[in-house]
């Protein structure tokens, strides 16, 4: 019995001294998906965060302290994301959390960040409701560094109508995903406002593998474009099965398909697949960062998550410097009042205090050509 007490006390002391030794660091949490269907982006995201933290520390750190990234895997699963947030806040006492990448996981985990008074910066959570409550007021601790889906849907509709000259469209979306069903709505709203016509609007449930039933229906009434605002797995399968059925309309998607998986799964059928994206490797602003990334990891980052995560980290670091503290409440107000700072993807980054979204973040259109993503054009934030 006595022995046990001694051991317990020793363990506690060890734990405490460990905690004390960590005092000269600032912990930033990373709530990322390192396994599962979204791991491609999550791993790139974490790599980029570690690289950026290393750079910041080499330049002298923040408030004389070093930045430490603490990451846990959420498998892009909302309940897991909630647990990761709890652990980062209650056990690791992080100053801020970077992530999440999906609107659904962000919305699920947001409550924990609000209660724990810890700012949370979404990387690619593009649903409008992620940072703004139903009454139109922003959540105090919820921010993001990406454009939002209404903007993405609008650009997709504009591009399809004006550049691809599409007058009719059909849509296949995932009814089990906030991201997919809202993006479908924003596309429909803007496409019809421009004068286009939506012929078929078909939904499926997350995890589906066989889309031939709904594609057969779409084939019966041909359209100029097939809008597929889903993740890469479904988009790849839909492209493959649509071409097999003899549907010839070009495809268009959102940033959810921006992974090489799209071509792995869909093969030749994905040639000419257009999609809206948050960033492109061809962007000259990213060239120096891209070189560093390739030098360290010997591979290309899977965009857009890594550059968004770096934007988020730079946003947090800037706010900590201005606030002079890592206290959650002060930090959140500092982030809210961010104006014209330099981040990775733009020299002019501003947070809108009304919505906690960035103002005027640009968007790009990509297309699959010869099995690779190619840059088509950019839309500035005002469009």
């Amino acid at each position: 019995m006595f022995k046990k007490i001694i051991i317990t006390v020793l363990c506690l002391m060890l734990f405490y001294s460990f905690a004390l030794a960590q005092e000269d660091t600032i912990k930033i949490g990373a709530n990322v998906s390192l396994t599962g269907a979204s791991s491609m982006w999550g791993i790139s995201e974490l790599n980029a965060l570690k690289m950026a933290a290393e750079q910041i520390n080499q330049d002298g750190g923040v408030l004389g302290k070093k930045i430490v990234i603490i990451e846990y895997d959420n498998r892009a699963n909302p309940p897991e994301a909630v647990i990761v947030n709890q652990r980062l806040i209650d056990r690791d006492h992080v100053a801020a959390i970077i992530g999440l990448a999906q609107s659904g996981t962000f919305i699920a985990a947001r409550t924990v960040a609000e209660e724990g008074k810890t700012p949370q910066i979404g990387t690619t959570a593009t649903n409008p409701m992620a940072t703004v409550a139903e009454d139109g007021k922003p959540f105090k601790y919820a921010f993001r560094v990406c454009f939002i889906d209404p903007f993405q849907g609008k650009i997709a509709a504009n591009f399809a109508y004006n550049e691809l000259k599409a007058k009719t469209a059909s849509i296949v979306y995932d009814v089990g995903s906030d991201y997919s069903s809202w993006l479908a709505d924003y596309f429909i709203e803007n496409f019809t406002a421009l004068g286009g016509k939506i012929v078929n609007e078909e939904a499926f449930r997350s995890g589906e593998l066989d889309f031939r039933a709904i594609l057969g229906k779409i084939k019966a009434s041909p359209v100029d474009i097939l809008y597929v605002p889903t993740m890469q797995k479904e988009a790849g399968l839909i492209a493959k099965q649509a071409r097999d059925l003899g549907i010839t309309a070009p495809f268009m998607g959102g940033d959810g398909v921006a992974s090489p998986d799209l071509m792995t799964i869909g093969g030749e059928a994905t040639e000419g697949f257009y999609f809206t994206n948050l960033a492109d490797l061809a962007d000259p602003l990213l060239s120096e960062w891209l070189e560093d990334y390739r030098a360290i990891y010997n591979t290309d980052p899977v965009l857009p998550n890594p550059v968004m995560a770096v934007d988020a980290l730079l946003l947090v670091v800037d706010a900590i410097k201005r606030a002079g503290t890592t206290d959650g409440e002060t930090l959140a107000s500092a982030i809210e009042n961010t104006k014209n700072i330099q981040v990775l993807t733009t020299d002019n980054f501003t947070i809108d205090p009304q919505t906690h979204n960035p103002l005027d973040k640009p968007a790009v259109i990509n297309v699959v050509k010869d099995g690779k993503f190619e840059y088509v054009m950019s839309y500035s934030g005002e469009n």
């Binding site: 396994t35 269907a37 078909e202 039933a213 709904i214 790849g236 097999d244 792995t264």
Partner: protein, 290 residues
Amino acid sequence: MFLQTMVTGLGIGSIYALMAMGYCLVFSILNFSNFAHGAMIMLGAYVGFLFCSIIGLSFFWSLILTAIITGILSIINERLAYRTLREKSAPSLYLIITAMGVSIILENLVYSTIGSNFYSYPKIFSRNYIEIFSSTIGLIDIYSFFVSIICIILLHLFLNYSKMGIAIRAGVSDPVAASLMGANFNVLIRNVFFLSGIFAGIAGVFMGFRYMVYPQMGWITNKAYIAAVIGGLGSLPGAIIGGLILGIIETIVSVYISSVVRDVFSFSLLILILLFKPLGLFGVKLEDKM
């Protein structure tokens, strides 16, 4: 459009049927649902990918070799996970729980060793589909449909005309009496698992060709299980008819109502059929079904 719907339905149904046959075989002799069958199909898809894409064998040899390997894996599965339980005459509920455990272990084993990446089989046909009366049929659908038919005929011949097949059927109707007559029950079971593994391998290769390969792909066998129950667990013709019925109904619901409520319909159908025919359409009376 109606013809296209029926063709698509038959195509989807034939995959369900192929998967359902593995459930049936094991159920008919051991009277429990081998939920590890889905994981075996997933392994089959990976093994097939290895042969077809990495080693570069032809479709035919990939299919044969994969079937043999999953057959062996299935025997190992039975030997390690089920035999001890069986010898201690554990109730079939425990076997089902063990099977679920095996399926989770295998899925996570693939996650931790191969990873969560998606893989896609190489293209084998210069054309993926043919057109008949303005409706398109995938070549892989035709293949899987005929392979299912061939498998069922071979299985029928094996069960009815070979000595081992007759012994298996004897084991199905009365394990104790069959053992007393000199049939080695453990050997019978080993062979049944080998057969069900073969079906898992074939279904896995077809699934991989048609969709893709990833660790969670085994979930789709839930549908195959429903197909087996609709047809009557333990009845091989029932598994095939059940699979085709389910495929066609799902497609019709997707096209004419909405694909969102598709599963509501297929599961309601399951309940409805069980209400009127508790043993399924072609069910045979067994002591307990789980």
